[in-house]
Symmetry: C2
Subunit: 224 residues, 2 copies
DNA sequence: TTCCCTTTGTTGAAATTTCAACATACAAAA
DNA sequence: TTTTGTATGTTGAAATTTCAACAAAGGGAA
């Protein structure tokens, strides 16, 4: 378990929890580590919402697939990030999304009830973790607001530019990589892949952006 | 302040806080009540995110307006519901939305920092409120997921039916009222009002739904 | 290198949405 | 009752997206 300490120390769930207490905490929480191959699911739609997952290595994608098989990309998760916590904390019976490994990856799963319920050992860290969880869940809210901001645009071009500008802002640079391939980006923007490719081509020819696979560069930020 | 006790007791923020403690809590939190006319804003985009609002009477709408004036409807709030808490808890500087009174309405505003920071009087309820906040913010997450589920559909017809089915499910009846007029519903679904009206007309003629102003009735739940 | 498979780009037709403009219905005020 | 203003419905043309099908490019494995 020790080899994951570096990630766990950076994980916002354990913020302000002393290093020496972390080992005890993980045992108390009955934290367990699982490995996944690319494409495998940690959670599937309609499974009970009991666990909080912490990405240790690799990356995962939160995806929602509707009745007709249409896929919607919600978010990409990198080491240190959590998933499942909102559903567990809201007390819903089943999760409405799937969490898929986008490459070989590892997660730590914790029973969410163990976080909020103080254990018989009277561990001190529970309260701190609840405070942390509140911040994390609130931050997740912002991520969803952001997706809504992007997808509320009416054209593929506007959606794409809105997304790229946000990425540029977050990276602090007009040149950056995104965690999605074309199909995944289309699923995030809620548009057709072919239409997205066409639009990227047009923006490229117009000299607004440069795009090579998942690497983008914005030339004219305001030519939306 | 006493006249609002009934709403406040139902408000999830004060869940499991004794009735006798509520008065003390409100004073400790420096809670203040404000009134608004229809259309007035409690919060405006780009204002600091410090306050948690509790709807006391009337109703409010959470709205986001982009650079070009396109309006996006996020949610409708009725008495007992909160707003602003996610932004305050996530520690963002400014709120990314506006909160507008959709009729004459009253809110109670609380400085969010006062909730998490125990006061010098060593009030007992702070911890309970943080637990409550966590559940509330997590539930907000579900509301956003729901909006994403609806708006991720590709056609106006599918979006509308997805929304109506969700409403029917929440009401526990195929006949119900929605809190939006046509323009507001279009802003929620992220479609054009005229196209929405046209689609409602078509569904009506096809005998799938009945619609009179904001009153809907679904006849054939699965003819999407 | 060649082969194979996946990803990305392209294209044209069909379907859908947006946009602008106007008609109608409804409700409040005069 | 009439007037007035707002909400809703309708319509056709222009713009955009979807869909299906295929082409081109890239990356690994043999």
């Amino acid at each position: 378990m020790e080899k994951y300490f570096e990630v766990l120390c950076m994980c916002p769930l354990f913020r302000d929890i002393a290093h020496w207490e972390l080992t005890k905490a993980l045992r108390c929480l009955n934290a367990r580590v699982f490995s996944f191959e690319k494409g495998e699911a940690v959670m599937n739609e309609s499974e009970p919402a009991k666990y909080v997952g912490i990405v240790l290595t690799g990356s995962f994608q939160i995806v929602r697939t509707d009745f007709f098989g249409n896929r919607s990309m919600i978010a990409n998760l990198v080491p240190g990030e959590l998933f499942g916590e909102s559903f567990a904390c809201a007390g819903v019976e089943v999760v409405p999304v799937s969490v898929l490994a986008s490459e070989a990856a590892e997660v730590m799963l914790i029973d969410c009830l163990k976080i909020s319920h103080s254990c018989s050992n009277a561990c001190q860290f529970h309260q701190q973790m609840i405070d942390n969880l509140l911040q994390i869940v609130a931050a997740k809210n912002l991520v969803l607001h952001q997706k809504i901001e992007v997808t509320s645009k009416r054209t593929t071009r506007e959606k794409l530019m809105a997304y790229l500008m946000l990425q540029a802002k977050q990276f602090g640079s007009l040149e950056f990589e995104i965690p999605y391939d074309r199909q995944e980006l289309a699923d995030y923007l809620e548009v057709e892949r072919s239409g997205l490719s066409a639009e990227i081509g047009k923006l490229r020819r117009q000299g607004v952006i440069e795009a090579d696979r998942n690497r983008f560069k914005i030339y004219k930020p305001f030519d939306v």
